[in-house]
């Protein structure tokens, strides 16, 4: 009896040793990098086509990826039954050649190329130029605010109202850009050493047909260009909160199949607004 039990224990020990030796042959469990191209292609009505290709950066810093891969690809744009080759310009930049490719409203464009043996493709349709884009005023006066504050109550003008037609509830993006060379800031915090705010700001994509710009949104005095972009849903998704936090990891929005990034067509209209003191 005892002998048998000792034999059993010895067998167990032998088995354990064998298993440990197996365990020492660890397999490589590093994350397998999913090498896919990142497309950045904005098609503007009436313009030629320009596509910037990059690739995602691996967390694994020891992974070497050859940047030349990105310049040796055959990119094609297809539209209306025709195929147009894009020419590499270096650093992953591709442009349409002199073969008559010009982006036209209402047309659908497909981007196609092969990367690491997989077909990469994306498609977008050029939307019509915004219609009926109007503003209720062309100029507003905004008092300057400095630090430390002085004086009494300030009077701010009413919001500037912009309207446009949007019968189909498509997406619009409003971008406001100060066009002055050296504009004066409305909020003068120079004494505090704060980095000056950007001269361009945006309003989240909307499916409405109106937007009111409040005077407090402006950072500088001077002429402002108000661009209304008529955008596709695929682009509007880029403005979603990525949600990448400890509770949630979201996949980047993209309309590129077997790739990442954005390939989208945009049309726009522009108005101007002068902000004075």
């Amino acid at each position: 009896m005892k002998t048998a039990i000792f034999q059993y224990i010895k067998s167990c020990m032998a088995m354990a040793l064998l298993s440990i030796s197996l365990a020492s042959c660890e397999d490589n469990t590093g994350i397998e990098f999913n090498d896919v191209p990142v497309v950045e292609g904005y098609l503007f009505e009436g313009n030629s086509v320009e596509i910037q290709l990059t690739r995602k950066s691996p967390f694994d810093t020891e992974l070497n990826l050859d940047p030349a891969d990105l310049d040796a690809l055959n990119l094609n744009i297809k539209s209306g039954g025709k195929s147009y080759a894009l020419l590499p310009q270096g650093d992953g930049l591709y442009r349409s050649g002199k073969d008559g490719l010009t982006v036209q409203a209402g047309q659908t464009y497909q981007l196609e190329f092969e990367f690491k043996g997989k077909p990469v493709s994306a498609e977008t349709t050029v939307l019509a130029k915004p219609l009926g884009f109007t503003q209720d005023v062309t100029s507003i006066s905004v008092p300057q605010i400095s630090f430390p504050p002085s004086g009494g109550m300030r009077n701010f003008p009413d919001p500037v109202k912009f309207n446009w037609s949007n019968a189909d509830q498509s997406y619009y993006l409003l971008v406001v850009e100060n066009t002055e060379t050296d504009p004066d800031p409305i909020f003068d915090f120079s004494g505090l050493g704060i980095t000056p705010p950007p001269r361009l700001f945006r309003v989240e994509p909307t499916q409405n047909n109106t937007y009111e710009l409040r005077s407090q949104q402006f950072q500088y005095y001077g002429q402002h260009r108000i661009i209304l972009y008529h955008i596709n849903a695929e682009y509007a998704l880029l403005y979603q909160d990525s949600g990448d936090n400890s509770l949630n990891l979201k996949s980047p929005p993209t309309n590129v199949k077997n790739g990442l990034g954005i390939f989208t067509a945009i049309s726009s209209d522009t108005l101007y607004l002068n902000v004075t003191q």
Partner: protein, 925 residues
């Protein structure tokens, strides 16, 4: 009358005659011969040969004589049934290598050793086996198979006619019918896992209906019916039809266990059932998921089987009698699942005496009581509850970390421990309200109203309450110490099952048997992982902050089912029935207390009819079972047809081939909610035709087996094609400004295929098996791309070795499992895009869906059990068992957890249990 008389006689013999053969007078030799052929001993005999013969003498008046040393050194424990005294003596003597002879001169029966011719009177033996001609031919024999000790019916026992290929299995209630038994002198071979197989020679005096066959548990010292053909010591038995495995809880104690003797964990040692997951007791069968495995416990569906983070199942082995696992190609009476069926039969309770017992391990305490109430009713009640022993704490502490926002390693990386972030003048104080337990209750009441009717009421409740909540009161902080506040972290997981069934079984005739079952099953799961905090500013204003997630899932299932079998003739057995199920399934998932991500309440009725015929062909070498199941699902308004066909061909007595093909539908699915950062979860939801389709599968199975009395070698291949599989992911924003996430269900297709090899030693000193499974499970869901990706449960190679050695009272066992690591998806990089307004947006990207593999899983478990000396009736008194789980302390990775902080990704391995010993003490009254 005769029995009463013999009892009266025996009473006097017991009272008045302390010595064997001391009674003067006795019966004459003619009467002895009459008694030998007419008297049927009908009780349980136990004790030394002398004591037993004294009992017989008391009953019959026949005096027995023999060597006193022989009489005192030989033991008998037996329960004859419907056999004459002559047959009983023949049987006992054959087993004990003895002879018996009638001494006509002294009117005694002499018991002597075989080969010993020193007979007192030298008279020839008058012992005669039944040698007469058969009185009936091609008759129908029906009866029931029971445990000799407890009177429990034994389901799915095998009853074969020796020298004839025909046979039958007992049904779920232990009843069997054999059609066209060649003669009433044929010999039957009856076998059941964990019991001594036996041969029963029929004779014209035996009843042809309601024949009670009692089997003795393996290892007990009882004499068997006529001849012990094999000790069925195997832990599991693959059935002849292929893809079906039987397992009896009686044998579980032999296996290494970590805390609990768990039948679901034991199933994971079988080929084709994945074992490399300690976090769920559910079964991944042939590339299927646990929700695709239908679990029927006494007829009602159990939707979730996990206790304590899935470390073991909610099934208390003390309440279980039998388990059948159908790994694929299952017959038409089962429906509503894509992959497999686990049919569990609970114990009815001891019909012969009251008994009880219990187990105490480092994890839980477990007790049961069972017994008869009158002659027709039996009951069983079991209860189990965890206690905060060292093992419980080890498992709880290991697994609770998964519930927290970041593991312990992560906490160190981010410096979030101690009072760091809240360090202030007042200093934080931590209050932990960790309380956690699980329990389960089983109860069953069985009323054998008549020989034809059985009513049983079964109840089951298992609950886990895992509360890991903490609160931090960081007192006064901030400038001047004039602010105060606190944060409480609620981390509560509460889930469980309640199920009950009322079953009426009726044997309408020896050929027609029916079950009607009314059942209710409820699975509930509530998870609250929220952080609540209040901050009071110097003005006394209180601000509440709250974030986290709240998730609830509630599944209710009311079912009515009727199943019938009809033995049309000796070549056709029809099975038919109907089932009606009303589902009420609710799921809600909300984040940050206010954002309701998903809130669904679905109800629907599923009705099904089925018909199948088991046909024996080619001189009963070929069994074909074609069947059809038709289901009407109210939420979709469609009817679904499921044709199925099983075939078994016995090439020789040892070689058999089997094949199966069939279609399967599933209407209630457990959908995976993908969570890359802290591990995916799943929830039950009812299919519809909108975002969660009814899923379906085709099974194709081909196998071969070579079986001898001691060994089994089998190979089986399978291919499953799946459609309509669903997954839920919040990883993707489908449209700008999305608020409702109803449409974040993604469906696709998949397949799994593989080959299983098994070599099993079924009896002898050493038993066990080695198995290897080569498998592949792939899914394709458009949102993840056009290509098939490895399913979460995909395991390429899995090798298992199970060895059991019995040495006297000791059971030694060892298991080794090796499995390829499971696939997972991980953050692997990032990129930036310049937007139209000139700003740059950064994104974190992931690897290909399940494009990575966790390290290979392997572990070695050992167990040693010392069984106490059994009682005279062969039942155990108890045991002490030591198990060591993961003997060499392999750090098997459960999953990877990621924390993203300002664009940086921190990775932590969440491991399964390391070296874990456990001690279990079992006592049976």
């Amino acid at each position: 009358m005769n029995r009463k008389f013999t009892w009266i006689i025996s009473f006097f013999f017991f009272v008045g005659s302390p010595y064997l053969c001391a009674q003067s007078g006795g019966v004459d030799s003619t009467s002895i011969v009459q008694l030998l052929r007419a008297y049927k001993p009908d009780r349980f005999y136990q004790g030394t040969l002398g004591e037993v013969l004294k009992q017989l003498q008391g009953e019959t008046g026949i005096r027995f004589e023999g060597n006193p040393k022989l009489f005192s050194s030989t033991r008998i424990e037996d329960r004859p049934f419907s056999q004459t005294l002559e047959e009983v003596l023949n049987r006992w003597c054959k087993r004990l290598q003895l002879n018996w002879q009638l001494d006509g001169k002294n009117n005694t029966i002499n018991i002597i050793r075989r080969g010993d011719n020193n007979l007192r009177n030298g008279l020839p033996s008058t012992a005669v086996k039944y040698q007469g001609p058969a009185k009936s031919n091609n008759f129908t024999l029906s009866g029931v198979v029971k445990d000799a000790s407890s009177g429990e019916s034994l389901p799915f026992a095998s009853i074969l006619i020796k020298k004839n290929a025909t046979g039958a299995s007992s049904n779920g209630d232990g009843y069997f019918t054999l059609l066209k038994v060649p003669s009433d002198t044929s010999t039957l071979i009856i076998s059941y896992l964990g019991y001594q197989s036996l041969e029963l020679q029929l004779n014209p005096d035996l009843p042809k209906s309601n024949l009670i066959i009692e089997l003795f548990a393996e290892g007990s010292l009882q004499l068997d019916e006529v001849t012990i053909t094999a000790e069925s010591e195997a832990l599991m038995r693959p059935k002849e039809s292929g893809s079906v495995v039987q397992l009896t809880p009686k044998q579980l104690a032999k296996l290494p266990n970590v805390g609990e003797r768990d039948i679901m964990r034991s199933l994971q040692l079988l080929p084709g059932v994945s074992a490399a997951n300690e976090s769920t007791s559910g079964l991944f069968v042939r590339g299927g998921t646990p929700d695709q495995n239908l679990i029927l416990y006494d007829g009602f569906t159990v939707y979730h089987v996990d206790h304590l983070y899935g470390f073991f199942s909610a099934f208390n082995y003390n309440a279980l009698k039998d388990l059948q696992l159908y790994k694929g190609g299952f017959e038409s009476r089962f429906g509503g699942r894509l992959s497999s069926v686990t049919e569990i039969t609970g114990k009815e309770g001891n019909a012969k005496r009251f008994s009880g017992g219990g187990d105490l391990s480092l994890l839980s305490a477990n007790a049961y009581v069972e017994g008869p109430i009158g002659k027709k009713i039996t009951f069983l009640a079991t209860g189990r509850r965890s206690w905060k022993g060292p093992l419980y704490n080890q498992i709880f502490n290991r697994f609770k970390g998964e519930e927290e926002n970041g593991g312990p390693g992560l906490g160190r990386q981010l410096g979030g421990g101690g009072g760091g972030p809240f360090g202030g003048s007042g200093g934080p104080s931590f209050n932990s309200t960790v309380s956690s337990y699980f329990y389960d209750l089983n109860g069953k009441l069985t009323w054998r109203a008549s020989k034809a009717d059985i009513f049983s009421l079964s109840f089951f409740n298992g609950t886990d309450y895992l509360d890991n909540s903490t609160s931090i009161d960081f007192g006064a902080f901030g400038g001047g110490g004039n602010r105060s506040g606190g944060i409480s972290n609620t981390d509560l997981t509460n889930y469980g099952n309640i199920g009950s069934s009322l079953k009426w079984s009726r044997r309408f005739s020896p050929k027609l048997y029916g079950n009607t079952l009314l059942s209710f099953s409820n699975y509930y799961s509530d998870r609250d992982r929220t952080n609540q905090g209040t901050i009071t500013n110097p003005d006394g204003e209180e601000r509440e902050i709250r974030n986290g997630l709240i998730e609830t899932n509630n599944v209710k299932d009311w079912s009515l089912r009727s199943d019938f079998t009809y033995d049309l003739d000796d070549r056709n057995t029809l099975a038919f029935g109907l089932a009606l199920t009303y589902y009420d399934i609710a799921y809600s998932f909300s984040q940050n207390d206010t954002i309701s991500v998903l809130d669904r309440v679905d109800q629907g009725v599923l009705g099904a009819l089925y018909l199948q015929d088991k046909i024996s062909l080619l001189d009963k070498k070929l069994d074909l079972t074609p069947g059809i199941r038709a289901s009407y699902f109210e939420p979709t308004g469609k009817t679904y047809f499921e044709p199925r066909l099983n075939a078994t061909y016995r090439l020789t007595s040892r070689v058999r081939l089997n094949a199966a093909v069939g279609k399967y539908y599933q209407f209630a699915n457990r959908v995976v909610r993908e969570d890359l950062l802290s591990g995916s979860r799943d929830f039950w939801i009812l299919s519809n035709d909108q975002n969660v389709p009814v899923s379906s599968a085709w099974h194709y199975i081909l196998g071969a087996a070579y079986e001898t009395p001691k060994y089994l070698f089998s190979a089986e291949t399978y291919y499953k094609k799946l459609n309509g599989i669903s997954e839920y992911s919040l990883r993707y924003s489908l449209r700008p400004g999305q608020i409702s996430y109803e449409e974040n269900f993604y469906s696709g297709q998949g397949f799994s295929r593989g080959i299983e090899l098994l070599a099993q030693k079924k009896s002898g000193k050493y038993t066990g098996w080695v198995s290897y499974t080569l498998g592949q499970a792939r899914n394709q869901i458009n949102i993840y791309g056009d290509d098939y990706f490895p399913a979460n449960q995909d395991v390429s190679h899995e090798f298992k070795a199970v060895g059991i050695r019995k040495i006297g009272r000791w059971d030694l066992s060892a298991t080794w499992i090796y499995a390829t690591g499971r696939p997972y998806t991980a953050p692997d990089g990032g990129y930036s895009i310049t937007l139209l307004d000139g700003t740059e947006e950064d994104y974190i990207t992931t690897s290909a869906k399940n494009g990575n593999r966790l390290p290979d899983y392997h572990r070695f478990d050992v167990g040693i059990t010392c069984n106490f000396n059994p009682r005279n009736d062969g039942n155990e008194r108890g045991s002490v068992g030591l198990s060591i789980f993961n003997l060499y302390g392999r750090k098997n990775v459960w999953y990877k957890e990621y924390q993203i902080d300002e664009g940086e990704v921190f990775e932590v391995d969440k491991n399964y249990l390391g070296f874990t010993p456990n001690l279990t003490f079992t006592l049976k009254l």
